[in-house]
Symmetry: none
Subunit: 213 residues, 4 copies
């Protein structure tokens, strides 16, 4: 039917099938146990291949780590960015839309474990931090900055310091995924976070604040 379309797809998949499963398994384990506590043998086993095969695709455990981070962020982020930039409507709705689509596209996916990883291992992988800043932090922050700027330009938001405003929108999102991957799994119901309620509350506070005048 579509041999022309299938051929390259199959070839590409052939070449990336193993690495894809390895990267996925590695992400799971790195997020769950941390970099050093994760054994490459376990990664290989979970991906259904042998230890030797892993080293066929990734020259070292550190390279595997870098590949995991590199693999699991660009896609999600750019899709999120695209969605937001095409939004039309009030800035408060845009903010709401940004938070919830972030949850859909990033926060609820496996990629949400990467910030915890980056945070833990930042000191040991300086080049990776540079890459992460360039590929994730800067575009992400720029995106949030655009929303704030739009709101202020349209008179919908109070004037605010852009840099710190961005951080203060970002912080609760980061908190959500860090919590999910650290204290979440080993805590009782009392400390579990329901993302929708959490994000709704964040929006409410972001927009109107606590103060009753």
């Amino acid at each position: 039917m579509l041999p022309i379309a299938n051929a390259p797809t199959r070839r590409a998949r052939r070449k990336d099938a193993r690495p894809g499963e390895l990267l996925s398994a590695a992400l799971d384990l790195f997020v769950e146990k941390g970099f050093s506590a994760t054994r490459v043998e376990e990664v290989a086993h979970r991906a259904g291949v042998s230890k030797g095969t892993l080293f066929l695709y990734f020259p070292s455990k550190e390279d595997l780590f870098k590949a995991v981070v590199r693999e699991h962020l660009s896609d999600h982020l750019s899709r999120w960015s695209d969605e937001i930039d095409h939004f039309e409507g009030s800035s408060r709705d845009m903010l709401r839309y940004a938070l919830f689509s972030w949850w859909e596209l990033i926060g609820s996916t496996k990629a949400s474990g990467i910030p915890k990883l980056m945070m833990s291992e930042a000191g040991n992988f300086p080049e990776l931090v540079a890459f992460y800043r360039q590929e994730v932090i800067e575009p992400g922050n720029a995106l949030l900055a655009r929303i704030l700027q739009r709101g202020m330009a349209r008179g919908e938001f109070h004037p605010i310091d852009l840099k710190y405003g961005v951080f203060l929108i970002l912080a609760p999102l980061l908190f959500l995924v860090l919590w999910k991957h650290s204290f979440g799994p080993c805590c009782d119901q009392h400390t579990q976070i329901d993302p929708v309620t959490y994000l709704e509350t964040q929006l409410e506070m972001l927009l109107h604040g606590l103060s009753a005048h």
Copy 2:
């Protein structure tokens, strides 16, 4: 005056000097490199003692880790808690006071590296997480909850879900110290965070929100 009384005091202090230096060195290195990437020998060396001496005071690397958390957080936290509970004035001032005294007593000290440690290693040390929750998270959250409740009871704050409200005050504080200990050290001026401006902006947004009605 009392040389006889002083002598034993000095001796007692001698006895605790080593553990103190070890805990301090361990905190530094754990925060900087993570738990497993830190070698006990390096901790000992930085504290000016031998590897054997370290094991004289802490039966294992894991116990050292626990001791670091215990030593460098419980005290600070309870001092912070005490200060806040004696506060009198408007709830918005109380919130401001809480944030800035938190920065003074915890955020700006070395102890601020511990949350990053805890988040990174949570998966591998369930019992330590239990200890941390009981000793740090629960009292800290309770403190913030008391502030929110007070503000709502006095009609100064809008009604808000207590649990999520606490998380949303906490998130930016946590973000600040996590950033400081991960991306902070290896980033340029552009991404540095000035704590005072940051906390002021947080307060502004917490109290009044972005929305210009």
Copy 3:
């Protein structure tokens, strides 16, 4: 003829070659130097492999110890037992046959070092002692008991307490191998024991005693 069938056989043998050499080396060294004085690295080196390889086959030094005992005694013992049970003839000849075939099958082999090992380390390995009793002591004693009972039933031996009778046949055999592996190697000719003469003398005394009426 059956090259296909041979290939896997050779492979299977390959797979067991290493453990066999390791067990043999471990037996030598354990007997020579004792359990704790033997370094696993030395065992590996003598077997021609690296330290890591040893731990590929035996999860710990203690497990290596257990495997040595299992491997080098159960087989020998059961072969000895089989031989004796098929004996037909006078009970005094049976006793003679038992002692000499014990020497052939056990006393003169490397396995004869194991009793010394067991006695030395009994206090530190209670579970191994249980295994050894069940696997070696009980069957061995039962075998000797059968010989005594047969002799008494046929009126060839005086009545005797079975339990202590067994110990008193066993004691000189044990003495022989203990001596061989402890004082033997470092003593002059004067204290060397010739097993055949020794066993002949034991038989003579066992059967007729010292007393000249």
Copy 4:
């Protein structure tokens, strides 16, 4: 009353009190756990002194071991020897007397753990083996040989090879104390040995043998 007699005694005791307790504690632990598995700290603790004090009296753990062996044999053996040599009566009674006084003076005392120690560590302490042979084995064997020779000379015993005859009297005695200190402590009643019954049975067999003609 007897100051002259007391003074030197007290002085001697002063000097040897600590070493005596240390040697006693060391003997217990060496017998129970083996040489390497025994920690000097535990020896010191059981003797009621500090680790440092132990090294005040014994320059090294090996020296402690040697001292333990040296200390705990000469006395017992020579007293036994004296008793036997003054015996008058039939040679069979002499043999009985030798076995039971051996049990009284050696087999039932703490010194009975030394043969196990010597056996286990013979390979690691060659000089000690030489000392042991000279001080214990040779005199002990000579003693037994004298009994045999006396019996043969008086026509009470059959002619027998002296060297192997000695070994065959010795073997059950050695077996008794080895068993007591290895399998004895961790075995059930079934495998316990009652020394008196054991020695009686040994005598019976030694003198008259199993054979019913």
